[in-house]
């Protein structure tokens, strides 16, 4: 009787899981396998791949350079491009956190429920417009003879054109702007559940505001902060519209590099290998992060 019940529970659980497993399998695992397979094939003359002809050339090319004699030497070009993307994503995370955390805290501390919902709603408004369009808007704002430039000149703040478009600063502005909501929303979600009595208790025990924030609020919001950082960092790595439009495309990002391989360079295996290398690095970083922070909330910080 009990065994039969357990069996039927198992069957029920399997049936309930099946749709999501099928979707993950069909739309994530299979494409990944295909990508891995393409990355170890020989490239076709005009793009595409030679099915069934295997080669490790794509992975060798990532780290080494073959000279005319066919001997290998270390080539850091691609690593340098990867590093640039990682640094840019890291800076964006820090900026988004610096702006996003106070914003989320402010929203969470509002007493009026209606006003609070309005603020959350306003954070999501940018999503109503396409990312590309919003980036073009920044071009119009930032360019010489643009809105900001003209306004600054009219107010007498500047004599020369401001020259900020097509600089790393413009990329930083664009990326932070684009991904800020991904930071605010998860932090807000964890702050909203924060029991304010804990903060009051901290004050009662003699903590000042900064101490209460550092010892009570931040640790309790940590899951949201981590989620926000990951949500900003990972898509930022693949971002290439913003660097291309606002940065003037003077330096390649991982995204541009991969796109080139499927476009003008016509080297699909190398493009797939680059995609795989990125995936591997991100996964390893996430795992290290997860292992490190798993202990934090329960660890009595």
């Amino acid at each position: 009787m009990l065994a039969a019940l357990r069996r039927s529970q198992l069957a029920q659980r399997t049936a309930l899981l099946a749709p999501s497993l099928a979707i993950i399998g069909g739309f994530m695992v299979l494409p990944l396998i295909l990508m891995a397979y393409v990355s170890i094939l020989e490239k076709g003359t005009h793009g595409g791949v030679e099915w069934g002809t295997y080669s490790a050339e794509a992975y060798i090319k990532f780290l080494f350079e073959r000279d005319l004699m066919g001997s290998l030497s270390v080539n850091a070009d691609y690593l340098q491009i990867f590093l640039r993307s990682f640094v840019l994503s890291g800076v964006t995370v820090l900026l988004a956190l610096a702006i996003g955390f106070p914003t989320a805290l402010y929203i969470a501390l509002q007493d009026d429920r209606w006003y609070r919902n309005l603020l959350v709603f306003m954070v999501t408004i940018p999503f109503w417009t396409n990312l590309l369009v919003r980036n073009y808007a920044w071009i119009i704002l930032l360019r010489n003879n643009g809105l900001i430039d003209n306004a600054a000149a009219w107010l007498g703040l500047t004599q020369e054109p401001i020259d900020v478009l097509y600089t790393p600063f413009a990329i930083g502005v664009g990326l932070t702007y684009s991904f800020l909501p991904f930071m605010v929303l998860p932090i807000y979600a964890s702050l909203e559940k924060l029991d304010l009595r804990l903060v009051e208790a901290a004050f009662d025990l003699g903590a000042d505001r900064r101490r209460a924030l550092a010892r009570i609020v931040v640790p309790l919001a940590l899951p949201g902060i981590i989620a926000g950082c990951i949500l900003v960092f990972v898509p930022c790595l693949g971002a290439y519209v913003t660097p291309e439009l606002l940065g003037g495309s003077k330096s390649l990002m991982i995204g541009n590099l991969i796109q080139n391989q499927f476009g003008a360079a016509r080297n699909w295996p190398f493009g797939a290998a680059l995609g795989f290398a990125l995936l591997a690095i991100v996964l390893l970083a996430m795992m290290a992060y997860a292992l490190r922070f798993r202990r934090a909330p329960g660890g009595g910080t």
């Binding site: 005009h46 340098q80 003879n145 003037g248 495309s249 330096s251 590099l257 499927f262 476009g263 003008a264």
Partner: protein, 346 residues
């Protein structure tokens, strides 16, 4: 619209030519470059033939090729440049449609009736052709010489106010031509020279970008732009002082074509469309919209006056020997080119 007179005649002609063979769905799927086909021309075609047209767009030959190679089916006509027609034929992606036997093929002007990539026009039909040169704003710069030197080694007053195309083929080829090197060179030493030139130019550029070129010139964001002639013409229409130069070392001359992919669902409708586009009035509408010349005799009288009078579009005869047809390079040459581009931007 001043084309209305010909509508009935064209409709009757189309009906007579293809009326018997059309047993397919009344649909046609176009895959074209962005901003490269007039929307009202699609409406005109739909109302004259009753075929529903769906338009999808791409931003480079390579994007289109990659999509077809990845197995994208369902397009009836794509618009590749000359060298890409070669690639599509070699990759067995193009359908043999015998363009030369279509009734309106008689309108196609030489040399477009027999291009090197499809000498007897079995697989392709001409759409537009143009050049990639330099545009600059005469109001903000002294008069410039007709040479790539102004672009690669700019005068002091232009430094930082120049935009390049974000296109490795166009950039590499322009640099090669300036240096007198074959664009398909397989010699690493020559590729190194090209890289040196591009590296030296980079600090003087405001940006690399192939999109929004017209707006960038019109807004005065930059003074000089590596640009297609049709774009230069459209920029000039909004800012009088913009002019186009044909550098004396040679500039890219390209022609875009209509090709039916091998697995097209509606090949007969595609042929109807291609024949219809070789009609002088329809070709003229496309030229008036894009700012590029078509290859159809007799379309001249339907062109806007501003096109005829702009040397960027209506090229003066003395520049003819500066045009260099695009060509497809070997794998070794392409690898060198990609290496130069990656190093330039690493």
């Amino acid at each position: 619209m001043r084309f209305k007179g010909g509508v009935l005649a064209a409709l009757a002609a189309t009906a007579m030519t293809f009326g018997t063979s059309a047993v397919q769905a009344k649909e046609l799927f176009l895959y074209n470059w962005a901003n490269y086909f007039p929307p009202d021309l699609i409406e005109k075609f739909e109302s004259e033939t009753g075929i529903d047209v769906t338009l999808d767009v791409y931003d480079s030959n390579e994007t289109m090729l990659a999509k077809l190679q990845a197995g994208a089916a369902g397009y009836d006509i794509v618009f590749p440049s000359g060298y890409m027609v070669d690639v599509m034929r070699e990759e067995d992606l193009a359908m043999k449609i015998d363009t030369a036997e279509l009734p309106n093929f008689k309108n196609v002007q030489s040399p477009h009736d027999s291009p090197s990539y499809d000498p007897s026009r079995e697989y392709s039909a001409p759409y537009m052709w143009g050049t990639t040169g330099l545009a600059y704003d005469t109001a903000k710069a002294p008069e410039l010489d007709e040479t790539w030197e102004e672009y690669f080694k700019p005068r002091d007053e232009l430094k930082g106010k120049i935009a390049a195309l974000n296109d490795q083929v166009e950039m590499y080829n322009a640099a090669a031509r300036y240096l007198g090197i074959d664009v398909c060179t397989e010699d690493p030493a020559q590729a190194q020279k090209i890289l040196d030139l591009l590296m030296a130019q980079k600090p003087h550029l405001a940006l690399y970008s192939s999109t929004g070129t017209i707006d960038r010139m019109v807004a005065g964001e930059v003074v000089m732009h590596h640009m297609w002639n049709g774009a230069a013409h459209r920029a000039k229409e909004q800012r009088e002082s913009i002019t186009y130069i044909y550098p004396k070392e040679g500039l890219a001359f390209w022609s875009d074509n209509m090709v039916v992919p091998k697995d097209a669902p509606n090949p007969e409708n595609a042929k109807t469309f291609i024949n219809w586009m070789m009609d002088p009035q329809n070709a003229a509408v496309a030229t008036n919209y894009t700012g590029y010349m078509n290859a159809i005799a007799g379309s001249g009288e339907y062109l806007d006056e501003s096109l005829k009078s702009d040397p960027a579009v209506n090229m003066p005869k003395e520049y003819a020997d500066r045009l260099r047809p695009s060509k497809e390079c070997s794998t070794a040459a392409r690898e060198l080119r990609d290496k130069v581009w990656t190093t330039l931007k690493k």
